[in-house]
Structures are given as C-alpha cells and as structure tokens.
Amino acid sequence: MGLDLITPEYLAVLDPFADEAKRIVEASPPLEALPAEIVERAVRRVKWTTREMLVEPDLESIRAEVLSFYLMCQAVASVSFPGSQEVRLISEATRNTLRYRMYDLFKRGQADLCLRAVKRSINLVDLEIGDTIRVDRFTIPREDFYKLRDLKLAEDGLETVDDRILPQYLPRYAVRWTDLAPLLRHRRKELARLYLVGGWAVITPRDLWDLYANFISVRLEDYVQSVYERILESGAQPSGVLARVGERISSLVPKEVFVREEFGRGPAGRLRPEFFPPCMKLALNGVGAGLRNYAVMMMLTPFLSYARVAPSGKVATRMADFIKDISVVREEIAPLLFEAAERCNPPLFQDQPQEKAGIFYHMGFGMTTEPTLSDSGRSKWYRPPNCSKIQMSAPSLCRPDEFCRKVKNPLTYYFRKRYEASKGGGGARDEDA
C-alpha cells in the first residue's frame, strides 16, 4: 500500500464520522442501489483480521470503506437494539480495525496522519522529553516515566521486548482527560487508571491507538442508538438490504455468545427477582412523589414485561408474538406493578388512578384496564431506558454494583445475570411462559 500521496479523504478511513466521510455518504446512491461489493464488505468487515482492515489510499477504496461502515451500522440498528450482541460485535470489530490501522500507519512512519485524525476530537500534545520530562508546565518525575512503561508492559503480560516494540510502551503524548469523557461515560476507561498531571493524561503510543479506537467505537454505538430511535419512531419494519445485511451480521455473532442469546431467546419464564439490577429492586420498593411515574411507568413496566415475556435479542413490537395467554400480563406482571405503585409515597393510583391504564398502554395494549391479547400492538411496547438515561432521570435509583459496569441496560443486566447463574449450575431453570 503506497501512502505517499494520500488524499484528504483518507482521514475518513480513520474517522468515519469526519466531514470527509459525511460528504461521501451524502453523495452515495440509495441503499438498494449500492454495489454488491459494498454490501458484501458491510458484512465481511465484522470478521476482518489484520491486513483486511487496511484501506488503499484511492478514492474508490475509501468510498467503499465509508459506505460499508454506514451500511453495517444501519443494518444492525434495524434488526437489533442498543447494547445488543450485534452492536457489541460491530463495535468491537470497528475498535480492532481502527487500532490496527493506527498501528500500521505508525509502523509506516505515517504517525502524523493518525495524529491529525486524533486531534480533531482530542486535545493532544507531545511530551517534552529532554533533561526533564514535561507536559505543559508540569514536570513528570523520570522514575514515573519508566514505571509507566513497565506497568504497560506488565498489563500486556510482557517482561522484555525488543527495541522495535519498546517505543510503543514509552509515554510520548498527553491528552486532556475531559476529552475522554465519552470513554469514561461508557466505562471504557477509568479516570483512576489514568496518570493525570495538571489535567493531562500521560499516554504511550499504544494507549493512543487504544483510546482513539475506543473513541470511535463509542461513537459508533451512539450512532446506532440514534438510528435505532429513528426507526422506532417511524414505526417502519426493517426490509430490503438493511434487513438482509442485519440478519447476516446477526448470524455472525460468535458461538459462545449465541449460547447466551439462545438462552435469552429461549422460552421466557418465571421472573427471578434475585437477578434484578439494583435500580429495579429500589423502584419495586416504592419511591417518592417526584419519581413515581418514571419509576413505575418508564422503568418497571417495560423491564418486568420484557424480562417475563420476551427475553429476545430482536426488536419486539407486540406482546402477542410471545404469549398465548393474557393471564401472564394480568396475573403475573400487573400485580407486581400495582404493588410497587401502592408502595410509593403517596401511592401512585391514589391520586392518579388513570395511570392504571397507563401501565397497559406502556405494554402495548392501548389505554385500557382490561387488556386482551387482541389489544396487543394498539400502542407502543416501550423498552426499558438505558442505564445512562436512568442515571440522568432518576439518579437516586441508580446505585450501581460491580455487575452494572458490564451493561448499559437493566434488561441486559437481568438476562446476563440469569444466564451466568444457570451456567454456574445455579439452577436457574425457568418455566415456560
């Protein structure tokens, strides 16, 4: 690959959200008219290894790269949901791809190109390494400089490396920690694991590739979420090339993940409160005046209904697709919700009796207090909000435990906990719905 005469558009290969990439997307034909090789690339890119991840510096290759990236994201958004196995799969693949591209460019002496891409999103400076080691006006003790190298080597399980590799492990740059907020938000990085001086996080080239690759994969997840919400709002069913590509990517979810998914997609069953996330346990205990509606309507109703009825990796639209008997709703889910509402202070239905119908409305039965299976689909069946949303809207209910760090949605918490308990011989066998 000759990178001597790189076009400005090549930055889109390192940053699919850059203006260069957006211009390519704006000029692209409609989805259904995309060439077969781009459609194929959108699927294959999930499984790329090393050299397949690299892109030739010609306009046609850059265009194929960008369009296949967007097709992959939109296809996954149309057949799954934020935080799904599919989203994680493409997010991880993109992260690995970006990391490898950065590594390759550094190796080829094209570090400047990488730094140009990074500097568009992150405030980055070179460490001044001379008699003293400095960033901005702060001096870094030389001992710390070498300790940081050794810690990074230890993290990668390396004791010694040759002189070719060693510079990758030596601190060389510094970035403003506040620019890493998206990574902290998604818990891809921990502030206490960064070496911070005067607001600068001191990093090695390897850290830089890793941070930047994570940065783009987090943006991918946010992008998929925005597409997913647009699809939900429009009410359109996925079809055509999006559905085909999406289904093919779904089929590529690794086998061990599939076991988990199969467990999830298997028969729904008895609710297991011991696996509920802390926020839902708190909400079930009843909450105060300002939070009642949110806790019961927006959190508990979707959470309990999906957890009980449709542990599915797919976008579910109607409860009737999963149950044959309305008693599951009336006799199992609704009583739990009514009890939680009663435990609120003041009890929710005491002054807002109309909200009884609201509960069934949020489960997709329309405004009714006597739902039947044929009502299913009259309104939207809401999904539980993501953890970040709950933290914003009901911070007092967000008391994350260690497991919460691994998930972004309370429902995922429940399914994964339940699955892990069953895997560990915890006897978490569920009854049929």
Binding site: I140, P141, E143, D144, K147, L148, L151, R176, W177, T178, A181, L184, R185, H186, R187, E190, L191, A192, R193, L194, Y195, L196, V197, G198, G199, W200, S388, Q391, M392, P395, S396, C398
Partner: protein, 318 residues
Amino acid sequence: MRMREATPEERRRFYLEEWDKREVPDFILHTISLREFGFDLDGKGPNNRYNQFTTVEQLCDFLRSRAPYSAYASVALYERPSAREGWLKAELVLDIDAKDLPLKPCGCPPGSVCERCLEEARQVAKQFAEVLAGDLGLRNISFVYSGRGFHIRVNDESVMTLEGNERAQVVDYVTGGVIPSDFTLALGYSQVFRERLVRTFRALGPEKLLEVKGLRKSVVQRLMQEKERVIEMIRRGRLEEISSLEGLGPKTFRSLLEFLTRLNAEFTDGKVTIDTKRILRLPSSLHSGVSMKCLVVRDIDRFRLEEAVPKFLREGEG
C-alpha cells in the same frame, strides 16, 4: 458555637435586614435566569420548585416577602428553568457534609455537627479541591460553607457538560475511592490514594477497625500500636509491607484495604455529584435548621465560623 433552629421572626429579620444581594456569587448572578430556584417555605422540605428569576431583584423580592426556611438554586442551567427543560450544563459539585463524615474526630453522634467536625470537613474540602485543581487541572473552583459542611462548586467549562458516569469517576478519583493498580508512582492517582489512605487510617479507632472482615482483635491492637509505622509504609507506597505484619495475611490485608477505600469514598455524598439537576443551598441564604448563613468562602485557609453567624444569633448570644 450553639446551633439552633431559627424562628419565623428571625428568618424575616434576616432577609429584611441582613441578606445582601452582593453575597450571591457571580457564578449564580451571571446565570440567574437560567437556574431553577427551589424553596422550603415552612421547614418541611424544598417543595416549592420550578421557580425562575430573571433578575436578582426579583429573587430579593421573593426572599424578603416569603422569608423561606431554606433557599436553593440548581447546579444546572436550563433553557427553560421554570419547566426544568432544555438542560444546558451543570456545575461539578462535591458535598462534604460534616454531619455525615464517616470518621468523626469529636465523637459527636451521626447527624450532629460541632466545630471540630466542621473543621474536619473544611480540611477534606481543601484536599479535594487541591486534586481538582492539580491532577484534574480544573479552574473556577469555589468553596461554599453550607451551614453544616462545605460545597465545592466547579464552574470550569470543560467539566460542565459531563454526565453522571464521568462525574462518578471524578468522585472516585478525588476521594481515593478505588484501589489503584500501582501504589508507588510519585504523582497521579497513586499519590492521591496514598494521601487519602493516610488520612483515613490516622482517624481510625480500634472499634472501627474491628469491622474489617477477618481482622482479629490482636491484629487491631498491633495496627494501633504501630500506627505511625503503618502510615509511613503507606506514604512510601510500600503497602505490601503492611501485609507482613504478624497476624495479617494477604487476604486480610486486602479486606483492610477495601474497607479503607470504602471509607475514603464516604467523605463526600457521591449522589450529589452525579446528579446534574440537583438544587443546592443558595449562597447568601440562611440555613434555618442551624441558624447559619450559607456563604462563599473567599479563603478556605482562613475561614472562621463566626463569619457565617447571622446578626440575630450574635445579638441573642451577646
């Protein structure tokens, strides 16, 4: 200093005679129309919410006419504060409440405050602010004496759009609330953690140490006897040497470390920091529960509690 509840008459006197709009800090004054104001009018809680004032004179009129038990302003700025909609950004806040300190130097019961625990809270606030300014490189950091403790309010643009998760990580960093991967680095979190650990360990009594899982009474006694030596080990980042103390194996040492780290995190109420829509006591207003003024502290090193005593209390005692 005797802290007692203010009477409705004293509240009225305070707002009519003593309250001064010049004591409302600039960071609130300059954004007054973008903040939600909340009031506790009768001592039953801040139920009067969703208030918006476009000028400080409007706020002044409200305070003088209603003489609230407590007054609050949001840390968040909104497009429409009166609907709490259109969130724009929020100050980064740390709340160090003297009544909730996990280790009290004075022995006053939980929920109570005395001058010694307020002094402890002041020291903690100062340490936290040093990390915010030093390690995190933040500017525009203000201290507010809240009546029962201190608020640190950061109006640095680079952190005002952070969400709850990031703010939670700031709390972990500043308090020493997570165990670091390395104890020996001269700067960075490693140093912060060591300093917090020293402070917490120094304040620990034997009864508290007995709460550590697996820690026998004889080992507690030894840790107390050798407190200064242990503190020196922590300072020098040689924590592994602590586990070699007789009767303290690696497992119990880990329990001890986790226990101390948990205590570190309790020096501030993390819920306040992660809540980007919180209302906080308005600097310049009266904390009627203790009859003290909530005010901006210009110099945290020279702060004296007397500055916060309202006239009616001084006269009453004089």
